[in-house]
């Protein structure tokens, strides 16, 4: 139905750059999640898409047509707000029908489309109620219905689930995805919750400090993080800083006096790097071995389905590894081996 494109979009406030030269193309019917910590510029990006904020530079195109200067009321976008922003003085039906009435649609059609939309969001029969009489999840559905009733080309959602409890959040996650699939609508979804992004979106765009870090599907992002920030932000990682050595058969990172074999695409010898290794990519050994590092002060944290082994290494500091739930610590020392580690340019630890 609609494609969206951001071209070199930049927006700054007083002395910070909220969105820094972001380019992103969203395909028709695609569900894209904008993911990042708070203050990363994802909401600003969304609001520029909606038209509430004008970018300082760059262009926004919908179906190839420039909309950069259009106000929100003239864009084919519909937004669902974090706080739902349901008008408290209107009933559910009035909230949904407001946009239709502004367009002077016949009474019957307004009623019909309102009722149908409530069916779509799975909330029939609450038309006469006021928002304050609904639960959080119900309000969320009404907000969704209100956004969708005008038949927008693009649906924009700004952290829509952040005000719900954990159980409901999971349910609404599936519900929103279902509705998106049913209506086949291009959707941009802003969240700071990686689980939401990973489970709902076709593609995820990770942002940090106004800069787009990586765009890709869930697997790309998890397995092949483009930056140390992505590696750290998605899932969890052991992060170490050191120097890249390309002299040997395999590239290694020199961390203190220890060396870790790493994957390092396109990085030069001697470059300062950040090494990232996921806990599940750490092998636990009971005895010394080449490339294995002895852990001190070990302890176990139980996660139910699995356990995490935590310990300290003189050169690396704190390390963690994922171990089966049957794993137990004995008196003998424990060694860790990096089965897979990636090196990223720069030795500054990523900050959110």
């Amino acid at each position: 139905m609609a494609e969206v494109e951001l071209r070199h979009v930049t927006k700054g406030y007083k002395d910070t750059t909220a969105v820094d030269d972001v380019s992103l193309a969203i395909k028709d019917r695609e569900f894209v999640a904008l993911l990042g910590p708070s203050g990363c510029g994802k909401t600003t990006t969304l609001r520029m898409l909606a038209g509430f904020i004008r970018p300082d530079a760059g262009q926004i195109l919908i179906d190839g047509r420039g909309v950069t200067d259009l106000p929100p009321e003239h864009r084919p976008t519909a937004m669902v707000f974090q706080s739902y922003a349901l008008w408290p003085h209107m009933t559910v039906a009035d909230n949904i029908a407001f946009g239709l009435r502004l367009r002077r649609l016949p009474q019957a059609e307004v009623a019909d489309r309102t009722a149908r939309m409530l069916d779509v969001v799975g909330l029939p029969g609450v038309t006469k109620r006021y928002p304050s009489q609904l639960s959080g999840g119900q309000q969320q559905r009404v907000a969704l219905a209100r956004a969708l009733v005008l038949g927008p080309k693009i649906l924009l959602l700004d952290e829509p689930l952040s005000n719900l409890d954990a159980k409901l959040r999971v349910r609404m996650r599936d519900e929103i995805r279902r509705i998106q699939q049913e209506l086949q609508i291009t959707t941009v979804y802003v969240t700071h919750d990686q689980e939401e992004a990973l489970t709902m979106a076709d593609r995820i765009a990770v942002m940090n400090r106004g800069v787009l870090q990586q765009v890709g599907d869930a697997l790309d992002i998890y397995d092949r993080p483009a930056t140390a920030f992505v590696a750290d932000f998605i899932g969890s990682s052991n992060l170490l800083t050191g120097t890249l050595r390309l002299a040997g058969a395999r590239p290694v990172a020199q961390v203190g006096d220890a060396r870790i074999p790493v994957e390092a695409d396109g990085l030069a010898d001697g470059a300062a790097v950040t090494v990232s290794a996921r806990p599940e990519d750490m092998e636990v050994l009971r005895e010394a071995a080449p490339d294995a590092f002895r852990l001190d002060d070990t302890r176990l944290v139980n996660f139910g389905a699995y356990k995490r082994l935590l310990g300290r290494h003189p050169a690396f500091g704190q390390l963690e590894a994922r171990v089966p739930k049957a794993f137990r610590l004995g008196d003998e020392p424990v060694y860790l081996r990096f089965t897979r580690a990636r090196a990223f340019a720069g030795d500054e630890r990523p900050r959110g």
Binding site: H74, F81, A85, P88, F98, G99
Partner: protein, 300 residues
Amino acid sequence: MAVVTSARAVPRRRRFDRSRAAGVLLVLPSLVYLTLFVFIPVIKAFATSFTVRDRDDAGNYTYRVGLDNYAQLATSDTLRANVIFTVFIAVTSVAIVFVIAYVIALALRFGKGPTAKLLGRIYIVPLFIPSVIASYAMITFLANHGFVDGILQAFGLPDGAFPKIVFDWKGIVITQVWLSLPFMTVLLSSVLLEISDSLIESARDVGASSWQIFRHIVLPLSAPGALIGVTFMFLGVIGGFTVPYLLGPNAPQMLGVSMVYYMTNYFEPYIASTQAVAIFMLSLVAAVYYVRQQFKREIR
């Protein structure tokens, strides 16, 4: 042994409620003050309104209890005209203040330019000017052959063409507007501040124009708070004296002025008290409305 038994026999007393006790204690001083300096005088005024004074031909007075004062209030053409006039002035000034204050409040809430800043600075000034001064300034400003008239005549307005504003209802309304503007603006500003941006943005998102947003979102959302301001100002205008006394017409009079005249010049404190009670009853309708609004908001 016996002691234990008797202790058991005593039913468990309701836990001493500290919050309630503290609440009573903290409210008590103001309650004592209000009782002494407001409630008792008000009750006295009520009693006075039921005192009827008769005068014989030689000017001697006799007193009795009765409803005659109220009957007089209801039947006297002058007094009835005064009541209508008072309500008219109150409604008109409240309406005008409301509109002007709303525009300022909107500019303060949504405007960002230098004009909005200027508005924010000047609207508050009358709050700092005693009403006596304001009335006096308005007389010199608006009188026929006053400041404005003089300027207009310098621009060619014929002598005598300037409308009668001072000693007329217009004078009261204009001065009342001048004086009440800060209060109403402040109140409406606070009400508008409570309307979150997202409620307005979501309306824009579904395609509402600025006017439609105002008409369908901002106005209805601000209505409950705004009505409180209206109630307050209405009460103030209805009972006011200084402004209508200095700027009003000879007749009809606003009740505040009429009351003072009955008290001072006509030597009829009983009728005056009756008028006070009548104004109070009028105000009470507004006050009860105010309190009900408050509780509605609280429940929300």
